[in-house]
């Protein structure tokens, strides 16, 4: 069973539906006990970093997510959820992240040419980096996924498992053992996205 963390940010209908479409039993929850008993956790997120991390901390679920991840439970952050896994964010000020993965959140305008539109929105190809991560088991180099973001994960170095080219190599996915994150939206990336979610559900824990 997969638990999607519900901390009052965004709409989780599509994410839950996409998990059900691959046959995975999925619960949207803000209950600590459910997160602790789930086989894996998805941390979603939309909107601004400061507001989201504040809400997550207010629920106290940040500690639960960190502890479960440290025990080896598979954890996937999606979009802003991925950014929250990093150490800090520079979106409107400086804010602490969960620190589960190396890196910091920066404005894409700092690295892409001025004539490109912000946000980076639409379908873009994945460039897989390093050894193929288990979540990309059913993915090929160049497969397209759907992005909507104005900030990205910088300095993720060897935790970067995929990038997308948008006038610069933007971090598309990160991972450190059982903890992974996608900047794009697998639940909006058609069949490719469903294959990533399926591979995540097949990923074992790392105790």
């Amino acid at each position: 069973m997969t638990a999607i963390v519900d901390y009052g940010v965004g709409n989780l209908f599509s994410l839950k539906s996409s998990m059900e479409a691959i046959g995975e039993e999925t619960v949207v929850t803000s209950d600590e006990n459910v997160l602790r008993t789930a086989e894996r956790i998805i941390l979603p997120g939309v909107g601004a970093f400061e507001d989201a991390i504040k809400k997550l901390k207010e629920t106290g679920l940040d500690k639960v997510v960190i502890e479960e991840a440290q025990k080896g439970k598979p954890l996937m952050g999606i979009c802003l959820g991925m950014q929250m896994l990093l150490e800090r964010s520079f979106e409107y000020g400086e804010h602490q992240g969960l620190g589960l993965i190396k890196g910091e959140v920066r404005f894409i305008g700092e690295v892409i040419p001025k004539d490109l539109k912000i946000p980076h929105i639409g379908w873009n190809g994945l460039h897989l980096k390093g050894e193929k991560h288990p979540i990309f088991k059913y993915i090929n180099e160049g497969d397209h996924v759907y992005f909507v973001h104005s900030y990205y994960g910088a300095k993720c170095s060897d935790c970067t498992i995929a990038t997308a080219e948008y006038g610069a190599e933007l971090t598309a996915a990160v991972a450190d053992n059982n903890v992974c994150g996608c900047q794009f939206h697998p639940e909006k990336s058609g069949d490719v996205g469903l294959r990533i979610l399926r591979a995540f559900c097949e990923m074992g824990g790392m105790a």
Binding site: S14, S17, E20, K117, I121, G122, H144, S189
Partner: protein, 252 residues
């Protein structure tokens, strides 16, 4: 790089997909859920649903159908039609829409764009404009293209983007339903005025019209069409292969 997008548009009334020619002479085509699934499996990059119902009961049917679509397909969904308040935004977003398109609702109350963008983010708010030449000037029309608002179109669209609209659907009434190609002149004028994605709508008659669109107005991000897809005149997979062969970046 980001690919250009191909977007089928589904006008939904009383639970069925319909498409008018020049906004008149509506004919029933198919089931929204079936069509959406078909398009998603055959290469559509996104879907636009327009709720063209008038009554309260039909609106409830529309939201049920939207939910069913969002449960079945997993590509971005834009919903428009009858969006007049923040509650309307809320209603369709909860059913799985990713973007909400406003047209007459924004003309009546431009602040709606600002308020929706503040609450849901710019990327969520799409300004859809029906535009027609009147004495050589691009004018914005409301109420499904029936009423001339007197506003100049490029200025109106710029104003909407300044208020927070994150995307523009430009529907040319002059070319809509005529099937002789998109309104390249109108699109060029809008693309040069705003820095958010612009979706071309109205006039697609065949594959060559899309090739011409992306070649002539490279700033356009997406091409939208309805009847040529619904009636099978153009298959999206064939269209995308042909565009790719012409050097246009596509998700195949």
């Amino acid at each position: 790089m980001i690919t250009k997008r191909i977007i089928p548009c589904l006008d939904v009334r009383a639970g069925r997909v319909v498409k008018g020619v020049n906004f008149q002479g509506i004919s029933d085509v198919s089931s929204p859920v079936e069509l959406a699934k078909y398009y998603s499996e055959n290469g559509a990059d996104e879907l636009v649903f327009y709720d063209i119902t008038a009554s309260f009961e039909e609106r409830a049917i529309f939201t049920d159908i939207l939910k069913e679509v969002a449960r079945t397909i997993f590509i971005p969904l834009t919903v428009g039609g009858g969006i007049n308040t923040l509650d309307d935004f809320d209603r369709v977003l909860k059913c799985g829409a990713d973007k909400v398109s406003v047209n007459s609702g924004a003309i009546r109350n431009p602040k709606l764009i600002y308020e929706a963008a503040k609450r849901y983010g710019d990327q969520c708010v799409v300004i859809s404009a029906d535009v027609k030449r009147v004495d050589g000037v691009f004018r914005v029309f409301s109420k499904g293209g029936r009423e001339n608002t007197g506003m100049e179109a490029v200025e109106w669209i710029k104003r909407c983007v300044d208020m927070g609209a994150g995307e523009v659907v430009l529907n040319s009434i002059d070319t809509d339903g005529v099937k002789k190609g998109f309104d390249l002149e109108m699109l060029d004028a809008v693309c040069n005025a705003v820095s958010v994605p612009v979706i071309a709508s109205g006039g697609a008659g065949g594959i060559e019209d899309f090739v011409k669109l992306f070649k002539t107005v490279p700033k356009v991000d997406a091409g939208l069409a309805a009847s040529i897809f619904h009636f099978g005149e153009v298959k999206i997979s064939d269209l995308k292969m042909e565009l790719k062969a012409n050097g246009i970046d596509m998700r195949i």
